[in-house]
Symmetry: D2
Subunit: 352 residues, 4 copies
Amino acid sequence: MPRPLLPQVGSLQPGVRNAITDVAGVTVGHHTLDENEVQTGVTVVRPHGGDLFRDRVPAAAVVINGFGKSIGLVQVEELGVLETPIALTNTFSVAAVATAQIRQCIAANPETGRALSTVNPLVFECNDGYLNDIQRMAVTERHYLQACEQSGAVVEEGSVGAGRGMSSFGLKGGVGTASRRVPAHSGGQHTVGALVLANFGRLPQLILAGHALGERLARLVDGKREAVPAEPEKGSIILLIATDAPLDARQLRRLALRAGAGLARTGSVFGHGSGDIALAFSTAYTVPLHADQPMPALAMLHDGLIDGLFQAVVDSTEQAILHALWCARAVTGRNGHARQGLAELLPGGFAP
Amino acid sequence: MPRPLLPQVGSLQPGVRNAITDVAGVTVGHHTLDENEVQTGVTVVRPHGGDLFRDRVPAAAVVINGFGKSIGLVQVEELGVLETPIALTNTFSVAAVATAQIRQCIAANPETGRALSTVNPLVFECNDGYLNDIQRMAVTERHYLQACEQSGAVVEEGSVGAGRGMSSFGLKGGVGTASRRVPAHSGGQHTVGALVLANFGRLPQLILAGHALGERLARLVDGKREAVPAEPEKGSIILLIATDAPLDARQLRRLALRAGAGLARTGSVFGHGSGDIALAFSTAYTVPLHADQPMPALAMLHDGLIDGLFQAVVDSTEQAILHALWCARAVTGRNGHARQGLAELLPGGFAP
Amino acid sequence: MPRPLLPQVGSLQPGVRNAITDVAGVTVGHHTLDENEVQTGVTVVRPHGGDLFRDRVPAAAVVINGFGKSIGLVQVEELGVLETPIALTNTFSVAAVATAQIRQCIAANPETGRALSTVNPLVFECNDGYLNDIQRMAVTERHYLQACEQSGAVVEEGSVGAGRGMSSFGLKGGVGTASRRVPAHSGGQHTVGALVLANFGRLPQLILAGHALGERLARLVDGKREAVPAEPEKGSIILLIATDAPLDARQLRRLALRAGAGLARTGSVFGHGSGDIALAFSTAYTVPLHADQPMPALAMLHDGLIDGLFQAVVDSTEQAILHALWCARAVTGRNGHARQGLAELLPGGFAP
Amino acid sequence: MPRPLLPQVGSLQPGVRNAITDVAGVTVGHHTLDENEVQTGVTVVRPHGGDLFRDRVPAAAVVINGFGKSIGLVQVEELGVLETPIALTNTFSVAAVATAQIRQCIAANPETGRALSTVNPLVFECNDGYLNDIQRMAVTERHYLQACEQSGAVVEEGSVGAGRGMSSFGLKGGVGTASRRVPAHSGGQHTVGALVLANFGRLPQLILAGHALGERLARLVDGKREAVPAEPEKGSIILLIATDAPLDARQLRRLALRAGAGLARTGSVFGHGSGDIALAFSTAYTVPLHADQPMPALAMLHDGLIDGLFQAVVDSTEQAILHALWCARAVTGRNGHARQGLAELLPGGFAP
């Protein structure tokens, strides 16, 4: 689905790809499982191309609503760094992907958990059980590795990778990404990128670029199919933020929290059953595994100059959610359950 | 300014007054100081008409952005109760109002701080220094008491009480309130009310009921007056949520957090220099001061039934902010600084 | 090792077993793997004998030092309940045990993740990599189920279950438990129980019931074996607290935090590399899975009466750690690594 | 009272003064009010001799038990810096001292709250209402300034400044300080200093350098005076940690949390009615007020090297509490209430 049919939110300019990979060094990979009842996958966001266990990137997370089963946040909060790529998958596949991350780290660092410390897997999840037979736990360690191998700067969106089986606003959800550029005080500019795994929201709540179209779309959908009884949201959204601005963990936590503002603008009320978690990282420097290696000695951004980044987080998050909805093609899965794509509902493009 | 010219956000119905006082027992009072360079005041929200020190109400707060100087949150977080009315004022008058709350408690409970524990003042603030000579610290203990005495179910909005000197989106800010009703699982309904002290935002960010009118209004304003150089936001917003639903402190924290979603929809990115703090309380029961008095033994709402309340918090918060902007009449204060009211900019009412 | 040779800390009385199972309904089970390089296992604490997914117990956790890889805490913090038994194992086996918990829940509730919400696995870990070949990931889903099946009121301590390969203060660590009884305001009494998985501390830090014996014991150990170069702590401790007092999640968080005080008294400084996590739960009531089932309507304990429980948490935690050390028999494992038991070092019993 | 009669806890060496002022640049000042029913005061800790509003020091706080009425923590947590000296006083004098800090800042920076942002007062408190007529609110703004003017490197301990009216373990409490030195990885050494305002604990709980002497001392005291009915703790302790190690706010939060371990070792269970708050700051660098001034570009300490600082925090905190107890001379105040000093109870010095 060509994105130009979608409005651009806010007044900041996007980067070249309008994707999280506009932050230099960041790559994204998917592995998609699409076979009858199995509609799921893995998505990986890699902050840099090296070994994150040895060269960690500063990071922080915010739990907006904690109805979620991710692994890895306790240590991120304590130490303020990532030491693996960030993985996204379905709720019941967190364990398989976490094990894959551990083995990946051992392969690169054979003393992991022995002479070296153990590694902290970082896996986020949403529940794709409406379209995917989640109980089958179809994701394997190999699928995670394939997502890593496939990762690059071009980001496929919609019903791919971890987004394959996701639903959002009663429509097809999935992966979306966007970016914004912010003038830097020192000249040049900072880039902020967002990537979301969207699996949240009830259709009447949907707000598209400020337009509360949810009720209208709900009537449109209801006219086209058998009425589905309204059920409580059992979704989630994972919100990943990348930036090249030099920020420490405290400041990155501030960025992560603003992803919630972008989320709110799409109609979310951070529903009870939704695991809404945001994580922000910076690519401006790395922290070495070994204590005897030199620590980075660069100046962080002054907090008084951070508002532009906040705006970029909010706008790129909202935009990434719109992209996820717009790019998600229809999927039919478990028990014949089906979700339509937003773009199919609005074939002429977005016209409020 | 008659509110009917404003759109109503969301699909839930407001209460009779569309005010926080639709939650039975809650009252609001103002004391306004309006004398040349002094444009400030005190606003009080009283959860019930009794002595809160003896009969506490469950409460919880969320710091959305902590650039703020409120007093009292540490103990609210630990104990999950309010033990004074909630007071709002300007940044440099927190101390005077806190002292007034202590003396008010001593007057009612002479052993406060002796045989009884000390009392926890709860005062929130925003910086009204653009219109008000904040360094004069004009608010006195007496003004707090007057706001208490004047409190009732009818809530004046706009440039009154603590809202007298506040600015929001480069326009006149102040106090706003709204409410929403939610069907209860057990029959009947719950009421959620919001009251805000709005002093945040830059004009280009403004989103009115989904309409990103900020840039257009900014040009309108710029055409009418000498250009004011853009300056970083030094505002804040206090977001108070009341409900009659039976919730414990953990659940009230969940409600308070959703006030941030309503705030985000008006254009806020939770700016660096803004102290954005939300507090939610329930009037469904009280907790006694004395440990030998019986504790309430009522069933809390099941978390699986809380989504309606979340929606009500988001919608009533956004609505309360719109009311604050719409009802705020122009004020001229310190150094001749002036802020226009939104309604004056849109004399024909809101037409997107 | 008979415990009577150990001093009893504090002045409160222990329960009948001086174990977490003195809290009525709580059971503990172990499955131990003891085969050459594999020295590890699983320990399970079950708050009640029923299905926790349907009948949840209130709970809260505190991360004292977050160098840890547990799974499940995000949702416990949000919802304030446990919905599975609590599992303990080694760091690289969290995934296997979490998967076992998911399958256990599906077996009992076939619509888990479909018509019902997904289940939140709760698995804590310490790194037993000094004695155990942790990279082998020897723990399987079956081992978790065996620990559940074997659970009962009698608690084996020391080098068993998840404690099999753990080290503490350079000695053999493992599982320990203790309890204390507190007079209730209303007559009768409350019971507090602690169970720890002890894998933390360097020997010179050890404080035994107030006696800073660490340096002396370190010299004793150094005289008996080849000097082992001091290395940074890579341990952890998991601290579980049970009580029958009626407390909500906010209050249980207060209890969990006091486990850190008991830990501190044994010499811990909450070392950088140690994942020190405490969780407290109450057996006084349950919260139903289904929102249409009645919520409990009992009075919580007044916070003003909680100090006795705090003392009981501190004392039973310290005592449980002493029990873990005292009951841990020597183990030799990976690469011929060996850890002595404290009781072997002090064959005449504890004499300060 | 000469400190040599007290044991030294731990194996690290203290600094020259065994005081928080061993951290270069830190000074401490007191102003004491001692007149019949008024037994109270103000203590100030200044991280450096300049204007903290312009040159902020990194800092972080941990609320161990939040039964407290301090002001300023919300902003410290958000921004990770101090912008005023740290003030200690009694519970009902927080407002007066906060106002003094605001006026002090305005005096040095006349545009505070106008062209400049507002200033964040930082005042901690304990309730000295047993000895002091706290309702009289005897502390004035002038007293805060006098404490600032009087500040220096020599720290008077015991019943002085904010410690004048404080009680601890049923004995006389007050101000205590200590320090420890830690070898730095890069050669040289780091210094950690602690200063406490001790107003917590019931006598039977007291542990002196590992010796649980509380019960014995309680019998000794009971024999000498009319039995005082045991009452719930209504105390508090403020724990301030200074270091010259280069740490960011996240790391300083880790240090602050370890002060709780030192506190636990003296017998505290972090009682319900006690406001136990720790704050740590670093003098290694400053953060400028103005965003256009250069940010510091120095390397932080690697987290893998932080354990020595943790040990120093624990030991210096425990030692500072011992010093507070040992140096506190008897005071008689409100209603003839009196507290003995520990050193008077143990005239031959400490002999376990």
